[in-house]
Symmetry: C2
Subunit: 109 residues, 2 copies
C-alpha cells in the first residue's frame, strides 16, 4: 500500500464508502482513527482501505471487504462500536455510509 491505493482482488467484492464532515472537536480523533484502520485490517474479509481528507474538512474513507457478512461483523466489533458512538457524539457534524458491491475495477495509468 505504498501509494495509498488498496490492492484489491478482482471483483466482485464490497466497498463501504464513509463520507464525513468533521466538527472542530479533536479529543483523541486521530489516535482512534488510526486504531480503527489497524483493527479493521485484522478483521476477517478485510481487503484494503483508502482514506483522504481535504483542507475543506470533507473526508472520504473507503474500506473493501470480501462479503456483506464481513462488513456486518466489523460494524458490530466492540471497540469499533465505541468509536462509532464517539464519532456520532463528538467528531462528525455529518456523515453518510454507503455499502456497495464493486462490479468492475481498472487501474492506471
Amino acid at each position: 500500500m505504498s501509494d495509498g491505493l488498496a490492492k484489491t482482488p478482482g471483483p466482485p467484492y464490497y466497498a463501504v464508502i464513509f463520507s464525513s464532515r468533521r466538527t472542530t472537536v479533536d479529543e483523541g480523533y486521530g489516535a482512534v482513527a488510526d486504531r480503527m484502520v489497524e483493527l479493521a485490517a485484522r478483521q476477517s474479509g478485510f481487503l484494503g482501505v483508502e482514506s483522504a481528507r481535504g483542507a475543506d474538512g470533507l473526508g472520504i474513507t473507503v474500506s473493501y471487504w470480501a462479503t456483506l457478512e464481513d462488513i456486518a461483523a466489523w460494524k458490530a466489533q466492540g471497540e469499533h462500536r465505541i468509536a462509532q458512538s464517539m464519532g456520532k457524539q463528538k467528531w462528525y457534524s455529518a456523515f453518510e455510509t454507503r455499502i456497495a458491491r464493486v462490479e468492475r475495477a481498472y487501474r492506471g495509468p
Copy 2:
C-alpha cells in the same frame, strides 16, 4: 451540497470510486478537475459527487449515478475523454476506478 456530502436518493444506484495519486505536474489540473465536475453534473443520471484529497497526495472522488448506462455515457463524453487522456499522461502516477452498486445507505449523526 453545502456540507460537501452528496444528497443521493434511496438505493439502489451506482457509485464510481476514483482513487488517485497525483504527480507533481500541475498544467491546468485544477481547472480541468473543476470543469469535469461541472460537466458531470449536467449528464443524464448524475446524482452527486464527493471529493477529497489529503496532504499526502491521495485523492478520492466518488460520483453517483442512476444507472450503469449513465456511467458509460459519461466515460465516453468527448471533453471527459480528453481529460482522462491528460490524466493518464500527466496528472496521475497511479489510479484505480471502481464501479459499484450501492445497496444500502444511512446518514448521521
